[in-house]
Symmetry: C2
Subunit: 422 residues, 2 copies
């Protein structure tokens, strides 16, 4: 590292990349006085060097050729281009050259993190990724701090702002999923191709990273229980609300005797649960330590500046720290039966169908005889004779759901419960 200047290379110059440059520029004085060095962006890899950009950069800094970044004398690379290919190859080549890496790329870490951590250790470079989970919320550094003195029993949270925005709008404005998704896309909260968010992949990648940190291991991604929000209806959300619950896309990591459990799925929470109160595009992470108890951290989980803030904090931090080996990442097999019911036996089941076959009496009679307890019930009929019911149940199994579908002609959707039954 040349005296007085830290040379930074950027891979990608989209929203977050622009935010990183703005943050480095607006906070340059503060950063220099803490680091004793100026931070300079010397190379930025972009797809199109002619494109108009929100931040001004000298044309000689921009390049469309990765080899130019690799041949330059950058000390640290900030990877904010996203994706796995060709990102992994670029990051790998830079680590092998001795560059420190700061990344916000959860997909890259969840899919190739094990190799990258190992590679960084072998080349004795920093690999920092606070920005990859929950944007501006410093959850990784807080977890590292607690792990010094606490056993962390569990981590759960709302790790995706797009889906939380959609669920909030669906509830408060009683709008269908497709319409809210379109609004979210217009507002820039959702991508043109929204699958990574709405099908739970984004939250799953973040959960994978949290598990590596907390438990020193994670499950292969294919073993994580993942369910998205695209099939939720406003009817389900409304009836949940009438029963005193709210649907959130909850990511959970828990350690059970038989192994760790990871899940991302629409989950019912009593409306007074702290995570039920996280609305709009906010993220929140709740952790339980055996000494410190429960803590909740809330903030903007995405966006140009919150994410850039985390990237630049990582940058500033690693410049003041000697290299220490990163704990190895591992993947373990999911234990059999480990990702079934997460919270005792309770669930909220939404039923919808036509009245002749499916009267509340007949449904309840069936459930009672099947050994399913119904703790609370909300039934609606509309003028067309359609029955909609929400039931807080315990003991409901897949075979009961199937029978309700086949014998009663009902659509059935059950959600696990987090928190206590109201």
């Amino acid at each position: 590292m040349s005296a007085g200047v830290v040379k930074v290379g950027l891979l990608g110059l989209g929203t977050v990349g622009g935010g990183v440059i703005k943050t480095i520029r607006s906070q340059q004085e503060k950063l220099s006085s803490r680091l004793g060095k100026r931070i300079e962006i010397v190379k930025a890899l972009v797809r199109d060097s002619e494109k108009e950009r929100a931040v001004e950069l000298d044309r000689s800094v921009l390049t469309t050729d990765f080899e130019e970044v690799l041949k330059s004398d950058v000390d640290i690379v900030v990877e904010v281009m996203g994706g796995v290919e060709p990102t992994y190859d670029y990051v790998r080549a830079l680590i092998e050259k001795g560059c420190h890496v700061v990344t916000a790329n959860k997909e890259l870490l969840a899919k190739r993190g094990t190799e990258l951590v190992d590679l960084a250790n072998r080349h004795q470079v920093h690999l920092a990724y606070e920005a990859s989970v929950a944007g501006g919320i410093p959850i990784l550094s807080v977890l590292r701090q607690f792990l010094r003195t606490n056993d962390i029993n569990g981590v759960r949270g709302i790790l995706n702002g797009t889906t939380n925005f959609i669920l909030t709008k669906m509830e408060t404005e009683q709008l269908p999923y497709q319409e809210v998704l379109r609004q979210a896309q217009e507002l820039g909260y959702a991508e043109a191709d929204p699958r990574s968010d709405v099908e739970g992949f984004d939250a799953m990648y973040k959960l994978y990273i949290l598990a590596q940190l907390v438990y020193g291991e994670s499950l292969p991604l294919a073993e994580v229980k993942r369910r998205g929000i695209a099939d939720l209806t406003s009817g389900q959300i409304r009836i949940a609300s009438e029963l005193g619950y709210r649907i959130k896309l909850i990511a959970q990591a828990q350690q059970a005797p038989e192994g760790i459990r990871l899940s991302v799925e629409p989950t019912m929470l009593p409306t007074n649960h702290p995570l039920a109160q996280i609305q709009d595009a906010f993220n929140a992470v709740q952790l339980s330590g055996n000494i410190v108890g429960d803590l909740l951290f809330t903030g903007r989980g995405a966006g140009e500046l919150p994410t850039a803030s985390a990237v630049v904090e990582d940058l500033a931090y690693l410049l003041t720290q000697p290299f220490t080996p990163h704990p190895e990442w591992k993947e373990t097999e999911a234990a059999t039966g480990s990702v079934t019911q997460q919270n005792g036996d309770h669930s909220l089941c939404y039923l919808e169908g036509s009245a002749p076959a499916a009267t509340p009496d007949r449904v309840l009679h069936f459930l009672r005889h099947a050994g399913v307890d119904v703790h609370k019930l909300k039934v609606q009929f509309d003028l067309g004779g359609v029955l909609r019911a929400g039931l807080i149940t315990s003991g409901m199994r897949a075979e009961h759901e199937e029978l309700l579908q086949s014998d009663f002609g009902l659509q059935v959707r059950c959600f696990p419960l987090l928190g206590s039954v109201e």
Copy 2:
């Protein structure tokens, strides 16, 4: 420091001291593997060495004589005895001997922190105090992290669990202050002499420490606006709730062009404000950074184990860090007029009096002519002809309050508003 063992002295062995010992014991393996050293409690200063204690300690460890601690070969001292005298003298003597200090004592820091920081720097020892603010919430370390890249515009929060417990109970169970205080004392949430909590001193000390960290300076304690909760009535709390607000004891630090502002006072928040949703004995801190935006941290602010967790984290952290000088603490004069209205011009005013003089019409007429806007109003009469009114106002000044008292015979209590007017 002798190889393999860190020798720790304890000043005080009450609730938190006991928690520290339990935490060190239950987490010994984790701590040793991270530190490469075992932590051993070699001396503990107590008032009464005969007293029954929740944790077992060798009798030779206990002493009632501070000189024995000073003469022992402790590397680090954990100060959890509280108070300023004789604590300050003890801590001073230990620093001068070259001992590192971990303290949970907010009063000591708020009253003598400037000198202690200076002394620790001169003797090149660590002075760590995460446990002094908001117990298990790692707010100081999070703030230090954000300060690397953010300007912090403001910090506000619920820093005292006892008063938050009392306010929650007064609202949810509609009980008078004195009765809830008695319950809190029985449950161990409030001290026999509750003044430090209910008059806002405890929250003020914590706010003072936060300001030193965030702004590099604080106000002399006498210049902090401080008002407690002991004169709040359930009538005020009820009418606030009917207007859509909740009263919380809010501590705030803000930087204004004319200087910093510090206040601790009962404050009205819309019930959907994140801080309004912090109930019971929980603490919460909200910070606003220019890059990261608003973040909220929630957890148990007191109690044996959460506080002990913070103490032991500090202990584990400083054992792995070389000494670096602590930023100097300073006190600045309060700017004139700096601690007046905190949030624009809005307040919630509670009026109570007898109907003949004080009819709603006459009161509203008076306010209109005085230039006070009334945005929302809730009026109650009881059978005895007593008027109780809650008004969301703007433009209300002390002279108006005085006239409402003298000319209308009303009791008046106005609360500043945090958040937007509903």
